[in-house]
Symmetry: D2
Subunit: 251 residues, 4 copies
C-alpha cells in the first residue's frame, strides 16, 4: 500500500485527491493538511508520496519544506517558472536524500489531454494541414488555452523539423474567422456555456482526416493522472525533478 | 414520369444532374444542352422541368429565355442579386404563362446544410451560448463561407427577437483565436486539405450542449436537393419565383 | 416574481432546482419540502408553481395532493404510465380549479435532448439512411436509453409516413456489430466511463450527412428546461395535463 | 527523381496512383501496365519502384514476376494470407537480389487510419473504458470492418498486457444495442449513405474522454500512404518483405 498524504486537502482539487486516494485499492490515505497546518507532521515514516494541490503563492514553499522532510512530492499546483524550478532542483541537491528524492510537477494531469498533445505532434509531419480548436466554459478569462498554444507549437516544430512548408489556406480572409496563427498553425477558441475544457486537433491530407480530441468534463478528469504519477513516484520514477505527465506515459 | 432537361449538362454540376435524373425512377432525361446549344429546342412538349447549372454570367439570360419558352426552371447557378431577381419576376409576369410559371433558385441545394441552418435558428433562443464553425477545403478562396455567415445572422436575429443579451465570453483574447463576430455570434473557419464543405453549430446551456453538423462530402450532395426541387416544380410548388430550398421542406 | 416551491428539495435533482430557482431573476423560492413534510403547507397564497422531483413510488400521491391544494405543478419524477396519467386527469377534473389547473410532466427536461429528438424526426424523411448512437456512463443499468428508443421510433414513423422503404445495409453482419433495430432504425449504445448522457443521430444521403447531437454533461442540464416549464405554467401554458417539453418549445 | 511504374494502372486505385505519381515533385512516371501487358517490360533500368494495385487472384503472380525482374514493389492489392506471404519471402530469397530486394504489402494505406489504430493501442492501457465505432457506406457487404476488428484486438491486447480487467458495463442489454464484443472491446458498425470509410475510438476515464477518429473520404486518401511507402523503398526501407504502413511511420 502506498501511503499518500495530501497538502491542500480542503481545496477544490485537493478534496478530489482525497476521494481518489480513498478509492484506490493500492493506496491508503495518510495525513490531510491544509492552510495553517504544520508540514513537518509529514515524514517518511507516515508518508510515501505527498500530493500538493494549493495555490501558486504558497506551493514553492510547501515543496521546499517537503523536500527538507525527505518525502517525495507530486505537485498539481500551477504557476511554475524557470526560476522556481531551479529552486526546487537546488533544494533536492541540498536536501536529506539528494540521490533518491523525487519531485513531479505537471501543468496538466488529464491523461487524455496529454496524450492528445503527444499524438498530434507525432502525427503532424504526415499531414498537409493541421488546425487546433479548443473549447472551454465562458468564465475562463483567457483565450486560447495554454494547452492549445502548446499543441500548436509542438505541431509547428514537428512540421519544421520534417521540412514541411506553409499549409494551404484561403486567400480572402479579412474578418478574423481564420483564428490565431501560432507557429504557422491556426488556433480557434470556442467559449460555450456548458463546456468545461476540450481540445480537438484536425489533421488533413487529400481524401483523409485524422481527428484527435480530448474532453475534460470536470475536475475528476485529473485524478487518473494524479494516481498514475503517485504510483510512479512510489515505484520506478527516476530521482530528481520530473516535469510533465508525458514523462510517465509509455509512449 | 417527369421530363427533365438539363442546361449546362457538360459542366461539373450539370453532369451530376444528368446522372441523378437517369437514376431517378420517376424522371426521364429529355434534352441535355450546353454552351452554344439553342435553348428554344426546349419546349413544354418535351420538357416538364429544366435544371440550369451554368455560370453567373450566362444564367440570367438562360432563365429569361426558358421563361419565354414557357417551361419551369430549377436554377442551381449562383451569383443572384436583387436586381437580377427582379428581372426574373418581370419576365414571369410578361411571359407566356404568368399565372402558372414556376422558377426556383437556391443558394445551396444540400439538404443537410439547409436543415442545419434552419434548426440552428429554431434552437437559438433556448441557449445561452452559440458559435459556428465552418470547415472547407483550402482552395476555397474566401472565409468564412456564405452559409456560415447566413447561419450566424439567423442565430443573431433569433436571439435578438427573443430578447437575449450578449453571450458570456472570455475577457482576455487579444490574439484573434475567438474568430469573427457576426451579429454577436462567433464564427470560426477551418481550412483543411481533405475536407469539402462542412458546418457545425454549437449551442450551450449550463450542463448541456446541442450540436448540429452538416457535411457535404462532394458535389453529389446537391443532387437529393435538386431532385426534390424538380419534383416540387412538377407537382405542388406555387407559381412564381421561389427562393431557397427551405421553402420546399416540410418544417 | 414567480413564487416556486420545491418538493423533494433535498434530493439530487431537487437540490439543483432550489439552486436554479435562487439563481433566476424572475423567480423567488417559496417552500422547500422533502420526505415527511406536510404538503398542505403549500397553498396558492404562497406558491405559484411547485416543482416535484421525488421518486416514482410517491410522486403520484404528491401530485394528487398538490392538485387538491389548487397549485400548479411541474413534475420531473419519472415512472409515469397511462393509468397514473389518467388518475392525474381525473384529479384535475374533480379538483378545486378544474378549468385552470395546470400540471406538466416530462420524461426529459434537457432542452438539447428534446430538440435533437424533434429535429431528427423532422429531418428523417429527407434522408436515405438514419442511425442512432446513444452514449452513457457505464453505471446506467439498461441499454439502449429510453430517449434513444423514442428517437428511433420517431424516425421510423416519419420514414413510414413519407413512404420510405428499408435503408440500405450491409449483408454479412453476423456478429452483432450493427446494433439493435427499432422500427427499422439501427440503435447503438456506448457505455464509457467519464460520459454522462449523450445522443447522436446520423442522417445520410449520397454525398452528405446531417448529424444532430445532444450532450447532457450533468444534472444541471435539466435546469434550463425546468425553469422554462415553470415560467410557462406561470404564464401562458394551457390548463390541464401537458406531457413533454416539446409542447412548450416554439418549433 | 524516383522512377515509378504502375501495375493495374487502369484500375480504380491504379489510376489514382498514376495521378499521384504525376503530381509528386520527386517522382516520375515510368511504365503503366494493366491486364494483358508484359511485366518483363519493367526492369531496374527504367523503374526504381513498382506500385501494384490489381486484384487478389493475380497479385501474387505479379509480385513474384516483379521480384524475378529485380525491381522493388509496393503492393496495395488485398487478400494476402500466410501462405502467400511465405511464397513472396521464398521468391525474394531465390531471386536475383536476395540481399537488397524490397517488397512492401499493406492492408491499409490511409495514414490517418493507420495512426488512429496505433494511437488507440498506445493509449488503451491508460483508460478504464474503450469502444470502437466504425462507419461505412451501406454497399460495403460486411460488418464490422477489418480495420475495426484489428483496432479492437490491439486495444484488448494492450489492456491484457497492462493487467486491466473487464470494462464497466450496463447489465440489462438484451436487444443487441451494445454491439459486437471483440477481445472484450465493444465494436459498433454504422452503415450510412454518404459515408465512405471512418473509424472512431472512444477511450474514457472518470471525468475525461479521448477520441481518435480517422476519416477516409475517398480513394485519394490512400495516395499519401502509397507515396510515403514508395519513397521509403527508394531510400532507407530495410530489404526483404515489410508488412504494414506503421512500419514506415516514425512513431
Amino acid at each position: 500500500m502506498i501511503k499518500v498524504s495530501v497538502v491542500g486537502a480542503k481545496g477544490r482539487m485537493g478534496s478530489h485527491v482525497v476521494d481518489a486516494v480513498n478509492g484506490a485499492n493500492d493506496m491508503e490515505l495518510a495525513l490531510t493538511l491544509d492552510a495553517g497546518d504544520d508540514l513537518t507532521l509529514i515524514t517518511p515514516d507516515n508518508t510515501d508520496v505527498v500530493v500538493e494541490f494549493t495555490v501558486p503563492s504558497v506551493s514553492l514553499g510547501n515543496v521546499l519544506a517537503l523536500i527538507a522532510q525527505g518525502v517525495d512530492v507530486v505537485v498539481g499546483t500551477t504557476g511554475w517558472n524557470d526560476e522556481k524550478l531551479a529552486q526546487v532542483r537546488q533544494a533536492i541537491a541540498e536536501g536529506p536524500k539528494p540521490e533518491t528524492q523525487k519531485v513531479f510537477i505537471a501543468p496538466n494531469f488529464a491523461i487524455s489531454a496529454v496524450l492528445a498533445d503527444y499524438f498530434a505532434a507525432k502525427a503532424a509531419k504526415y499531414f498537409e494541414s493541421a488546425e487546433v480548436i479548443e473549447l472551454h466554459h465562458p468564465t475562463k478569462v483567457d483565450a486560447p488555452s495554454g494547452t492549445a498554444i502548446h499543441t500548436a507549437q509542438a505541431i509547428g516544430a514537428a512540421r519544421k523539423a520534417a521540412g514541411l512548408g506553409d499549409m494551404p489556406d484561403a486567400t480572402e480572409t479579412d474578418g478574423g474567422s481564420r483564428g490565431q496563427v501560432i507557429d504557422g498553425v491556426h488556433v480557434h477558441a470556442v467559449r460555450l456555456r456548458g463546456l468545461n475544457a476540450h481540445e480537438e486537433i484536425l489533421l488533413g491530407n487529400a481524401g483523409e482526416q485524422l481527428t484527435i480530441r480530448a474532453d475534460s468534463f470536470d475536475r475528476g478528469s485529473f485524478m487518473p493522472g494524479v494516481l498514475l504519477a503517485t504510483r510512479k513516484l512510489a515505484t520506478d520514477a527516476p530521482a530528481g525533478l520530473t516535469i510533465g505527465l508525458d514523462q510517465f506515459l509509455d509512449l
